[in-house]
């Protein structure tokens, strides 16, 4: 592990703020599934938040800017 916990990025404008809220509300899609291939960042995430390597997926909002 070479990084600490990464906080949410601060939205720089209203569209970004809406996008972040939307993603947190569940409007997301997985773009990298940990069960297909482990995330490179999985060891750090596990050290900070726990879980198993395959539990960690990478997601993105399904809305556009």
């Amino acid at each position: 592990m070479n990084k600490g916990a990464i906080p949410d990025e601060s939205p720089r404008n209203l569209p970004e703020e809406l996008l972040l809220q939307d993603a947190k509300a569940g409007n997301y899609i997985v773009i990298h599934c940990g069960t297909d291939r482990l995330l490179g960042d999985a060891p750090r995430l596990i050290a900070i938040y726990g879980g198993n390597p395959e539990d960690w997926d990478k997601m993105t909002s399904i809305e556009a800017f």
Partner: protein
């Protein structure tokens, strides 16, 4: 390979593609335009489902996987940049060389790492402009035989 979008919601997907835990619901609206054509940069097959990696309508710097049933294939000629990989667990992936050279390529690309973004920019430029035109079979084989006999 070029595909055309024929549907852009989860309602059009077979049940095999519906997996709410990872965001694929019947209600999902994909960032795709019905009727628009997209270049396929890679694709994968897993347990009978096929996913195309394309630059969808939200494209920023990486291709996104999209379920195959949302598209029809309009140009089935495959890219000369593609490589084939079948993993021991049955996971099939076809993608450009750099995707496999570094097993973490897509992870790094989606993390917005500069080197991987530059690679994908180059691959995208080449594949978008790829010339698939081949001479007719008879002409091609004649040309080959002339080359071999010289």
């Amino acid at each position: 390979m070029i595909i055309r979008c024929i549907a852009n919601t989860g309602a059009s997907l077979p049940d095999d593609y519906i997996e709410p835990a990872i965001g694929y619901t019947k209600e999902i609206q994909f960032s795709l335009t019905v009727g628009r054509e997209y270049v396929v940069y890679a694709f994968r097959e897993w347990r009978g489902t096929i996913w195309y990696y394309i630059c969808d309508d939200n494209y920023s710097y990486y291709p996104m996987q999209n379920p195959a049933p949302l598209f029809e294939v309009v140009d089935d000629r495959v890219s000369k940049y593609w490589r084939f990989k079948l993993s021991a667990n049955g996971f099939l992936m076809i993608a450009f060389e750099q995707w496999f050279t570094d097993p973490d390529f897509y992870d790094k690309l989606t993390d917005q790492e500069e080197a991987e973004i530059e690679i994908f920019d180059k691959v995208k430029e080449l594949m978008d402009a790829e010339d698939f035109d081949l001479p007719p079979l008879d002409v091609a084989v004649e040309k080959l035989r002339e080359t071999v006999s010289v």
